[in-house]
């Protein structure tokens, strides 16, 4: 039985990556390597103001003083930062007026990814910023949203059209000194999405950014900044894919969220970067810093992530709970297979009174992969009556993979209540046989059981994407489910 099940798991966990194609388009590419001249060139290409160039150069200076972090439970091969292209953009009109201005190849690429740039064709109620390599290709529904005063555009456009907002908040949550990859990103970031929800506005549609790495030897360094003003609400989703290549590619993004008084931000990620092949060759190095601050009282930030891709994931979407009564949430499903490695989790920093945080993490490991949860719950001195509940579950498929949990709790206020629960389990032969006896084959049974295991988190995703994510989970681990 064990052998047969392992066989099925092996079979079903090795489905081909669906998004591995490459689009052959003309690009505007800077030479490889990282130095001040390259940074000046990136900034010049984007016609940036002086203050932003200064920010980049300061960040670069900082980065040079820092070294790769090695505390994660990851084996990271040496990265030659001089062997990476830091800017590559599909050649097109600077800001396409209409769809006709977009290269048909590009449109086709996004169609293939299920992200039509044509507003008519798109899922109703979802606005998309589509980003390929270093630039934003098109943002849909910008005008509709603008009527409500919502700004949703590429980061470059925001720098041009809303410099004050960008300048005020850029680096305010993740300073360039924060860590090695944040410093690198701050120096060379190319594009990303910017979003501002004005006071009292409930954003009527899901906002979403779709990231696509296309060019070879290129790193993707996007920057996302999301500001929710007093009493506003927004739900935001990002998705990502990349072509299959034998070389590893670096993705080092920074996401910053600011929630002001009584504001609520829901940020969901479905991460499906190319994970590398079965032997562990190729794949994306996904080194991402995501952090939100509940700056105002009664504000709330909720992270939901479904991580199925990347060769290596290093990512800890976190919340700084500064406002009194503010709430931070982290819901995560991380799937690793073959030779993938993931070290992911969250930090909940309780500063304000009556702050609450919830952490639900579900790790699923298959193949020869390593999957770690790493989380910090920190209660500061003045965080009276802070509460945290953490639950970290690991599910192992097969016997060659690993699951690890590294929870850290630091409490400086005795009124805090912090709870941590953890479990590790395997899919049992009994469960599979029970499904078989009801007419469900082993492949479907595994899909059913894995989805059941992750359901608590999948339920947190916006409806439109929950189904997608469910499918993705099954594709990452197996064929399909009924």
């Amino acid at each position: 039985m064990a052998n047969k099940k392992d066989e099925v798991i092996r079979e079903v966990t090795q489905n081909e990556y669906k998004y591995g194609f490459f689009t052959d388009i003309e690009t505007d590419t800077l030479p490889k390597g990282l130095n001040e001249d390259i940074i000046r060139l990136i900034s010049a290409k984007k016609e940036e103001p002086e203050w932003l160039l200064e920010f980049r150069l300061k960040s670069f200076g900082q980065w040079k003083k820092m070294s790769m972090p090695h505390w994660a439970h990851l084996k990271i091969p040496g990265i030659d930062y001089q062997d990476i292209i830091y800017y590559s953009a599909p050649r097109q009109k600077a800001s396409p007026e209409s769809l006709d201005d977009i290269d048909p190849e590009l449109r086709e690429t996004f169609d293939k990814l299920g992200i039509p740039l044509d507003e008519q064709k798109h899922l109703t109620g979802v606005a998309v910023d589509a980003i390929m390599d270093s630039v934003s290709v098109k943002t849909t529904f910008s005008e509709t949203l603008a009527e409500l005063g919502i700004i949703f555009c590429s980061f470059s456009e925001a720098v041009k059209n809303h410099p004050d907002l960008v300048r005020k908040y850029l680096g305010s949550v993740v300073p360039y000194t924060d860590n090695y990859f944040a410093a690198l990103n701050s120096a060379v970031f190319s594009d990303g999405s910017f979003c501002y929800i004005p006071r009292g506005v409930r954003c009527p549609m899901e906002l979403s950014t779709y990231f696509r790495i296309n060019a070879a030897n290129t790193g993707q360094f996007e920057r996302t900044l999301l500001v929710a003003d007093d009493e506003s609400y927004v739900s935001y989703l990002e998705g990502c894919t990349a072509p299959m290549r034998d070389e590893n590619q670096l993705h080092a993004a920074v996401v910053e969220i600011v929630a002001l008084e009584k504001a609520e931000v829901k940020y969901s990620t479905v991460q499906n970067w190319y994970p590398g092949n079965k032997e562990g060759k190729g794949g994306i190095f996904n080194f991402v810093t995501k952090r939100g601050i509940c700056k105002g009282n009664d504000s709330k930030i909720s992270w939901t992530q479904v991580e199925t891709g990347s060769a290596i994931t290093w990512k800890y979407p976190s919340c700084i709970l500064k406002g009194h009564n503010s709430i931070g949430e982290f819901f995560s499903v991380a799937v690793t297979n073959n030779h993938q490695q993931a070290d992911t989790g969250t930090k909940m920093i309780h500063i304000g009174r009556n702050t609450r945080s919830t952490i639900i993490s579900k790790g699923i490991s298959a193949g020869k992969s390593q999957n770690s949860y790493r989380g910090l719950v920190r209660i500061l001195k003045n965080a009276k009556n802070a509460r945290n509940f953490s639950q970290c579950d690991s599910l192992l498929l097969g016997n060659k993979c690993g699951a690890h949990t590294f929870p850290y709790i630091e409490t400086d206020n005795s009124s805090a209540i912090v709870e941590h629960e953890a479990t590790t389990s395997k899919i049992s032969e009994d469960q599979i046989f029970y499904c078989n006896q009801r007419g469900i084959d082993t492949e479907k049974a595994i899909g059913l059981i894995v989805n059941g295991y992750a359901r608590e988190v999948l339920n947190k995703l916006p409806m439109e994407f929950a189904v997608e994510a469910q499918k993705l989970l099954q594709i990452s681990l197996e064929g399909s489910v009924g």
Binding site: C435, N436, R438, G439, T442, L448, A454
Partner: protein, 252 residues
């Protein structure tokens, strides 16, 4: 419907069944009784295709086909249902989702259209009434947090949804109070017709007051040592298994 000939099986290298012969025809109810460790559950598992069980000799024909050649899911889809002695919990998978998947697998196999969510819910409500299944339980995860009695009732409910040709109920009565026992038995009786058959595996004759068998077999030390009509169950109830033991040992 089912014809077992000289079936010998091993579990973990140890011989458990020493040559079982049994024929079950459509419309019949067979009871298999016997003391603990006599091989009753092993027989049920062998018929359902559990692969911890090695068949080393004999044949099993089901509807004219070689049952032993089939995967467990194929056996299930061809109409064999096992009511588990210890139903398994599947956290996070709702009963609705689980049974919709199961029922639709059967339908696809039979060349029918799978049921939509709406149609399935309607069908489920109908079947629920038939077996007096508590409506709350279908909203929960498969068997998770169910009491012993609820788990057993859930097996009968699943049987009602799947409508098998041959149901094998493995100690479905164990651990049930008298009310639950009645519910389970009523369910089994309500599902009975001339085209299907039931094998009831039980320890006690109690269940057989409600599910009246056409045949009673006594399984002892891996063999069927006695087969008779219903009266055998009553005799066992009265005398216990010792006389069977004595008789069987005398034969050896």
């Amino acid at each position: 419907m089912l014809l077992i000939k000289e079936l010998k099986v091993n579990v973990a290298g140890k011989e458990i069944l020493y040559g079982i012969n049994l024929e079950v025809k459509a419309g019949e109810v067979h009871a298999i009784m016997g003391p603990n460790g006599s091989g009753k559950s092993t027989l049920a598992a062998a018929l359902a295709g559990r692969d911890t069980i090695d068949v080393i000799h004999g044949s099993v024909k089901y509807m004219g086909e070689d049952l032993l050649e089939m995967d467990p899911e194929e056996r299930a889809k061809k109409g064999i249902f096992l009511g588990f002695q210890y139903p398994v919990e599947i956290p996070g998978v709702s009963m609705v989702n689980f049974m919709k998947t199961a029922v639709n697998e059967h339908r696809i196999f039979q060349g029918k259209e799978p049921l939509s969510a709406g149609d399935f819910l309607k069908y489920m409500r109908e079947r629920k009434e038939l077996v007096e299944f508590d409506s709350q339980l279908t909203n929960r995860s498969v068997n998770e947090g169910f009491s012993g009695g609820e788990k057993k009732k859930n097996e009968i409910f699943q049987m009602a949804l799947i409508e098998p040709k041959l149901a094998i109920l493995d100690e479905t009565d164990s651990g049930l109070d008298i009310d639950a026992l009645r519910v389970v038995a009523n369910g089994v009786n309500a599902l009975k017709n001339k085209d299907n058959a039931t094998i009831v595996i039980t320890h006690y004759q109690r269940l057989l007051d409600y599910i009246v068998p056409d045949f009673v077999h006594v399984l002892f030390q891996g063999r069927i040592v006695k087969s008779s009509g219903r009266e055998l169950a009553l005799e066992l109830e009265e005398k216990g298994y010792d006389w069977i033991r004595a008789e069987a040992n005398g034969q050896v």
